[in-house]
């Protein structure tokens, strides 16, 4: 059973719709800590502001459920966009700490006339390691990005992919069963489908 965590800020429908196209596994959208505990895989999507996301997870009792499932049970988790930020230590976007499951921190892009903020658009992603995320990839991969905050610091051993927008930065990280992607695989056609398929296969 794949659980998509619904904490009130996520575009769960998009993730659900794409997953339904690539797997027959049961997909559940939930904010029930018990279901999160029972899931074989977790997806943490997200659109919105960092503090609100963290606060919602705490209020719903989900931050503990997620941390337990991921650290103790070893459940694979994929954080998408805001979800990826939430897995990290902190973000300049908010004051609350992240879940701290990945040694990374997020900062705001610097205002620029050429590279406008938020970054909105497709971009090439360069994967640094072979992993579930690259299993079905076919060489160069393109994904859709929408964000103003980016991963500015990351433990080098946890960097999974980089991309470029005025400068190179980390757009995917991984630490064992914990994955985070800055871009939106659920909005990236066949590239996103390939990535999600690799994650589902774990």
């Amino acid at each position: 059973m794949i659980a998509i965590v619904n904490y009130g800020l996520s575009n769960v429908a998009s993730v659900e719709n794409m997953l339904k196209r690539i797997t027959r596994e049961l997909i559940v959208t939930t904010n029930d800590p018990d279901q999160i505990g029972m899931a074989d895989k977790l997806i943490l999507p997200g659109v919105g502001s960092f503090d609100r996301g963290i606060a919602n997870l705490h209020d719903l009792g989900l931050s503990d459920a997620i941390t337990y499932a991921v650290k103790v049970k070893g459940t694979p988790i994929l954080g998408i966009c805001l979800g990826m930020q939430i897995l990290s230590l902190s973000s300049e976007e908010g004051r609350l700490p992240g879940l701290g499951l990945i040694d990374a921190r997020f900062s705001r892009f610097t205002d620029s006339k050429i590279f406008k903020i938020p970054r909105m658009g497709w971009g090439w992603v360069s994967f640094k390691t072979t992993s579930a995320l690259t299993k079905y990839g076919n060489g160069m991969s393109r994904f859709y990005f929408v964000h103003s905050y980016f991963c500015a610091e990351c433990d080098p051993l946890q960097v999974a992919a980089t991309c470029s927008y005025g400068m190179e930065y980390v757009c995917a990280f991984q630490r064992g069963n914990i994955y985070g992607v800055q871009f939106h695989p659920e909005k990236s056609h066949r590239y996103g489908q390939a990535l999600l398929k690799g994650f589902i296969d774990l």
Partner: protein, 257 residues
């Protein structure tokens, strides 16, 4: 300002725009004479299968009717889309916006209401983040006033606000993007008003996307590479096929695919 430092793939945002009226997909000409062009669910599926970069869905009847978005139809549209989706038409509350996000729309476009109550933009950005709010400005050249003017409600209302002031205002309020919809060029395939696009991109830090008048993919690429737009939207050239203007949703294949 030099655009040559940006890599080619960053410049790719060719965005089909699908108009809805009473649940059907339509195409207009200068915001008038809506012509039926098909089942919107099927059209969205076609654009998704063809790997369109993004899609904008605008309900052109919603604002005037002061109606809620047609959620069940929009849900069906999103279920067919594997690319980013933006919806506009009759949005007046955060509650509506939240519902649309839950359905699967990445972004919301606000037009008339952003002019009526600009603070809504700030409230929205605080709640959902700047990147998910787009302001669509319906703009036309007024030969009488010898300047560009902003309209709303299908050109029935005119606003006493200069384009530059509007750009600054919405930038300050936290909008994520501005769609410059040229009402006089709508449906004409006569070519974008590149000067208007340049003026807007030179006077705003926000991404600018033109809509209305695109004559070809090259015209759209010029808007991006020469006039400074961040993406380009079009209806007619993606819905109709020349020379007989048959309805045939189409989308160019990227060179790298």
């Amino acid at each position: 300002m030099s655009l040559c430092v940006r890599s080619r793939e960053e410049l790719t945002r060719l965005i089909p725009c699908v108009l809805l009226l009473n649940g059907a997909a339509v195409k207009t000409r200068k915001f008038k004479m809506p012509e039926y062009v098909g089942d919107p669910i099927n059209i969205v599926k076609i654009f998704s299968d063809k790997c369109a970069d993004e899609l904008i869905v605008l309900d052109i009847g919603a604002t005037v009717a002061a109606a809620d978005p047609n959620y069940s139809l929009l849900e069906a549209l999103c279920s067919q889309a594997s690319m980013p989706m933006c919806y506009g038409g009759g949005i007046r509350s955060l509650k509506q916006a939240e519902r649309l996000h839950q359905l699967g729309f990445e972004r919301i476009s606000v037009s008339a209401y952003a002019l009526e109550r600009p603070e809504f933009v700030k409230e929205y950005a605080r709640c959902f983040g700047s990147q998910s709010i787009v302001i669509t400005l319906d703009i036309e050249w007024s030969t009488l006033l010898r300047k560009y003017i902003i309209t709303s409600h299908n050109r029935k209302r005119k606003w006493d606000l200069s384009i530059c002031d509007a750009l600054q205002r919405f930038q300050d309020l936290g909008a994520g993007e501005l769609v410059i919809s040229n009402t006089a060029l709508d449906g004409t395939e006569a070519g974008y008003d590149q000067k208007l696009i340049q003026m807007c991109s030179n006077n705003s830090l926000l991404p600018i996307v033109p809509l209305g008048g695109a004559s070809s993919v090259k015209d759209m690429q010029n808007a991006i590479q020469v006039s400074g737009a961040s993406g380009a939207a079009a209806g007619s050239i993606f819905i109709y096929r020349k020379p007989h203007r048959a309805v045939l949703p189409n989308y160019p294949t990227h060179e790298f695919e």
